[in-house]
Amino acid sequence: MPIVKAVTCPVCGSLCDDIELTIENGEIVKVKNGCAMCEAKFLSHRSEHRIRKPLIRKNGELVKTTLKEAVQRAAEILAEANYPVLYGWSSTSCEAISVGIELAEEVGGVIDNTAVVCHGPSLLSVQDVGIPSCTLGQIRHRADLIIYWGCDPWSAHPRHIERYTAFSEGRFEKSAWRGYIAKIRTLIGRKKIQSTVRRLVFKKPPEIKAQLEPTFVPSIAKEGRKLIVIDVRRTKTAEMADFFVRVEPGKDYELLQAFRALIRDQELEVDSVAGVPVGYLEEVADAMVSCDFGALFFGLGLTMSGAKLRNIDAALSLVRDLNMRTKFVIMPMRGHFNVTGANTVFTWQTGYPYAVDFSLGYPRYNPGETSVVDVLLRGESDAALIVASDPVSNFPRKAAEHIAKNPLIYIGPHMDVTAQVADVVIPSAMVGVEASGTAYRMDHVPIPLKKVVDPPRGVLPDEEILRRILTEVRKIKREKAKAEAA
């Protein structure tokens, strides 16, 4: 059985590139080194939910059709539309995104990627404040303080801690893995002793403990790599952290600003900020200032709650302030495997990272006005092209209803909710499994994606499908111009 080594996993923004796949009869049968999500994705290429033939809606029913007819119908919808939206892009290759932007310009539409519902606020604040960042390799080898704020990598980016941060074996910083194991063993041992004593001596049922108020933990002062988690709940990542700060939901902005004031040696006139005693914050601020190389990772807990983009504004400013005292970097925990690539390619070609409106013939950008969710909520669009995304299942209901109401073209490998309400469905090859391409890791490092198995017969990659639609749209426009001239 052939084994393919060093495959890049097309799931999350960590883009782990050490996956080993075992191929048998043109199918992936075994996945090594990957997390559960990675394994599920690689094995799903033979899933029963795959779309194998292009579909088109006739008399309210999706019926099988030829690729040529599906492409023709998609091109007609887009060429006729007065304000189409082109959405998705974060789970496909940079090459396909590039063609997508060309198509958006040709049809005068609004093109947007999934950053609009995840790290869009981060991008807005980066434009306002700037971002002191680095590659994950640097963090792996040098960072002695890791902060995860509003994210739970243990669940969402399972190998992030192991490959790039606290549990990775760096050149100058040792892995904190052994320390964590020792901590867990002690904790389990202590719990066992306590429960034995309770059962045998006191004969009491187990108590349900109330959530503990934050208290000083001596581990903040430990040597070596430190992990601090700031979140609204005690997540899996928080369990393994040396220090956990529970912030009141929606109050991250106040906490960030309080940290900024403390780092600037200013006194606060309050006893607690966002439910955290100021004394406790001073401990964390001390740890931040006294580290040699700190890294702050933030997730949707920061971008999509309370102050939204201003949370990120404050986080970036905090890191800027920290750089006056020590070396500190900040990085968003990007979700989809190529959402960073989508932002990068959008910026190359249009000047803006997401929410680009081509309706006036040139790119315009003003999230809130040109972002797809807002366009849909105001009910302005009259057609949609969705590539490698499932907005109908996760957009606000009113927005999803508006997508479904108007002509909808779907390009993607699986029969998801968006595909079920679409008017034209074109199956595509899974990028990183059945098609090669390029994707950008969360630290803006481009990594090649491999083609390891063949797609189902007749199924093309996104790039090729989009190119055919673009050619067809241009043909329709040429014919229309000729007819008008005549």
């Binding site: 007065n82 807005l124 902005y253 106040e254």
Partner: protein
């Protein structure tokens, strides 16, 4: 010449109509006004295709443009206007009076985001509610309102007066969070309630909140109690106000006045006085 505009249909697509501007209409005939270019979605149209245009001869020099009907999808009305007047008897769309330098815009309905964005002079009066980013610059810009006056009789959304440098915004309703974000000068008056984070990262300027505020940013320091606050020439609010100075994180000395009576939860600051 005064011009009346009547929408010919209910607009579904976004309309970009920068040409609805007294400076552009001036000294143009009815036919010329009808032929002005506007965008409906991704198609370019003539103003006359979307609006019924009616001209009334008057002796005034600067024209008055009146829109009768719902213009909530019509963006960029009165952008950069220097003189004259626009009256909208209905709702107005985004970027109303962006970068305007003079004249007056009156809206007898609601307006969407970025009304009076980067304004440099003139007056905007809104009798309904205003959306987010009232008087604030477009994304990525730090050039806020430089002068002029915005009066809103209803409520406003988030970040009213962000990056403001000069001028005055008077809100007789409630305001959303981040009123006066990164403000560098000017005055914002919120007569009723204000969501939290008012004046976050402000460096200078004045914010007055007459109603309830959930909390004051921890990075503000109390300066004292005041018996009255002057909003502008001829408008003084007589009531006890806490005066906070901030934002400390930006080494700012902006002044944040919070009415004492509706905010008993801030009384713990009095121990510092």
């Amino acid at each position: 010449m005064n011009v009346n505009l009547y929408p010919l249909k209910e607009f579904k697509l976004p309309i970009v109509a920068e040409c609805i501007n007294p400076d552009i209409f001036q000294e143009k005939s009815l036919k010329e006004i009808e032929a002005l270019k506007v965008w409906e979605g991704n198609k370019q149209k003539r103003l006359g295709e979307l609006f019924k245009v009616e001209a009334v001869e008057t002796s005034f020099e600067a024209p008055v443009i009146t829109i009768h009907g719902n213009a909530s999808r019509v963006r960029r009305i009165g952008v950069g206007m220097k003189s004259g007047e626009i009256i909208i008897k209905g709702d107005a769309g985004m970027h109303l009076g962006e970068e305007m330098r003079g004249g007056k815009i009156t809206v007898y309905g609601n307006v969407l985001g970025w009304a009076g964005s980067m304004m440099k002079g003139g007056t905007i009066e809104i009798y309904g509610n205003a959306g987010d980013y009232l008087g604030a610059p477009y994304r990525g810009s730090t050039e806020g309102m430089k002068d002029g006056k915005i009066i809103v009789h209803g409520n406003v959304g988030r970040e009213a007066g962000a990056h403001m440098r000069k001028g005055i915004i008077k809100i007789y309703g409630s305001a959303g969070q981040f009123a006066g974000f990164r403000m560098k000068g000017g005055t914002i008056y919120v007569q009723k309630d204000c969501e939290s984070r008012a004046g976050a990262c402000m460096v200078d300027g004045t914010i007055v909140v007459g109603g309830h505020i959930e909390s004051v940013m921890p990075t503000f320091t109390i300066e004292g109690l005041r018996k009255r606050v002057k909003i502008e020439e001829g408008e003084i609010v007589e009531a006890p106000f806490y005066l906070f100075i901030g934002d400390l994180t930006e080494n700012g000395h902006g002044r944040l006045f919070i009415a004492k009576e509706p905010n008993p939860h801030l009384s713990h600051y009095e121990k510092f006085l």
